[in-house]
């Protein structure tokens, strides 16, 4: 029984958040997977019970920095359900705009990081340069580049002025043009296709039974998008297409994300044109009514769920958060386990892993258990990635 330990955690600036993957392999073939997410456990659910609903909002936004807009939105929608008060429609539209903006930022970020991962530094630099336009808009609307804190209990923090709306529309034109260029590169570049097609197969049945969410399930050809199925904010009124793709592999996930970018641009345009007038925020008391509420929101990585139980005190009795990545772990395992003609080589692991756009990554270490030889060892993702260079066909 030999266990290796890596002296240095892999610190590269891309893909943060640690997760321990335990892979069972037979020779070079992956036959089983297990996870350990304890590196990132910060006890947020317990912590939320010690804070009032108003204090909880900033904490919820910091469950994760990348789709914090979705977390904040979900939290506020959820808590508002306890109050039984109508939220002004203008606030709902503004929330939608910021949510979609942050989706653009998240998908562009993923594109850049993916390029960075394959050593395409120039592409990474260009996507991130263009992402800055989106960041500037987010900053101008919400007051911070990444952590938006835009959606507040009772509405949104501030209004979008006509000048700002104008600027936003102009930015959308730039973003659309650049996005089209990147889509062209990503979809026609043969090396990308070679490394993604037929890899990480997730059949529609598995996608359903493992309860996967977001671009993963949509790339398996299933129309499942909370924005359409369980509309919140202004999604009932703003038209959009649910992008699906039926190749069920990593390539499909690239296509779905890329096409979604253009959808987001159109939604923002529509919402800005049809922005209702009226107040953007109402004041709500510190103490909500007793009861329970459940809200689902489509975050960039998929369905996000918040549930709360309130006993009529300013603090939640219980607050439950289910993040998209947790939901996709089951799907990840299905993708990583060889079955039938879809044999998963150790070398495929990083690409498949990256395709769920995990926010738990990087320090991620993979433990192999060879059930035949009864031996255990630990590798970093990077080491596997490196093996892939040799063994991928």
């Amino acid at each position: 029984m030999a266990t290796f330990d890596i002296p240095i955690g892999p610190q590269h600036p891309a893909l943060p958040e640690p997760l321990l993957l335990k892979l069972e392999v037979e020779g070079e073939t992956v036959v089983g997977v297990d996870f350990d997410v304890s590196y990132m456990h910060r006890g947020i659910e317990k912590l939320l019970e010690t804070k009032t609903y108003f204090q909880g909002l900033p904490l919820v936004e910091r469950i994760c920095g990348i789709c914090n807009a979705a977390h904040g939105l979900c939290y506020t929608l959820n808590v508002e359900k306890l109050y039984d008060k109508e939220i002004p429609p203008r606030a709902q539209y503004l929330r939608l705009i910021v949510e979609e903006l942050s989706r653009i930022h998240s998908h562009l970020l993923w594109l850049g990081v993916a390029a960075f991962e394959i050593g395409f530094n120039t592409m990474f630099m260009y996507t991130w340069r263009d992402r800055e336009y989106v960041m500037d808009m987010l900053e101008a609307i919400t007051g911070n580049r990444v952590t938006t804190e835009y959606s507040q209990i009772g509405g949104v923090r501030r209004d979008i002025s006509p000048e700002l709306a104008d600027k936003l529309l102009k930015t959308m034109n730039v973003v659309e043009e650049r996005t089209k260029y990147y889509i062209k590169v990503a979809l026609t570049e043969p090396t990308i296709a070679k490394r993604t097609q037929g890899v990480g197969y997730l059949s529609p049945e598995d996608a359903k039974s493992t309860c996967s969410v977001g671009p993963i399930i949509r790339a398996s050809g299933i129309k499942f998008d909370i924005r359409a199925d369980d509309p919140y904010a202004a999604h009932e009124e703003v038209p959009f297409n649910v992008i699906t793709y039926d190749s069920c592999d990593v390539f499909g996930r690239v296509v779905v994300r890329a096409q979604e970018l253009l959808e987001c641009v159109n939604m923002i345009r529509y919402a800005l044109k049809n922005l209702p007038s009226g107040p953007f925020r109402i004041k709500l008391p510190m103490k909500p009514n007793a009861g329970e509420a459940l809200t689902r929101v489509e975050a960039p990585r998929g369905e996000l769920l918040h549930y709360t139980l309130c006993e009529g005190t300013p603090k939640p009795y219980r607050y439950k958060v289910r993040t998209p990545t947790l939901a996709n772990l089951g799907a990840l395992r299905a993708m990583l386990t060889s079955k039938g003609r879809y044999v998963v080589n150790i070398g495929d692991v990083p690409i498949i892993y990256g395709s769920i756009d995990p926010c738990i990554c990087c320090t991620a270490r993979v433990q192999f258990i060879d059930i035949k030889k009864d031996k255990t060892w630990t590798w970093t993702l990077d080491e596997i990635r490196n093996r892939s260079r040799r063994m991928r066909v």
Partner: protein, 156 residues
Amino acid sequence: MSFEESFLNEVKSVFGEKIIESKLFKRRIFLKVNPENYYKLIEFLVKEKGLYHLETMTATELKEGIEIIAHLGVSTSVSVKTILDKNSPKIVSLCNLIPGAEFYEREIMDLLGVVFDGHPNPKRFVLPQDWPSDIHPLRKSFETRHNQPLRNVGGE
């Protein structure tokens, strides 16, 4: 009659009095059953009603016991609740029915100490490896202050 009400009627026509309590909101249905009917109801919902998607499972420590909620649903979300005994919480695992339930159940195992019968892989998931196995942070008896011995007192 709204969709939610007709849905509830359909469920009641099969389960009748076994549904102890029900609450309806827009696109939200909360049902409460006894532990012994929990699996049957969920099986019915998944197999007959096509609610293939298990959103998540929530566990809460209430005064009367530990409440387990399985949130099912695609468009309309149906939450099935049941209350377990506080001292030896035990319930049948959903993993055979819905493989995606595994991680949710393991999280509850760690954080509240509920035992899931027939769980294929009952191992530690979210807590650190060196965490004592009889402390469950989401129990109400676990004070956040509890952490003081676990935390480095130095620093700020």
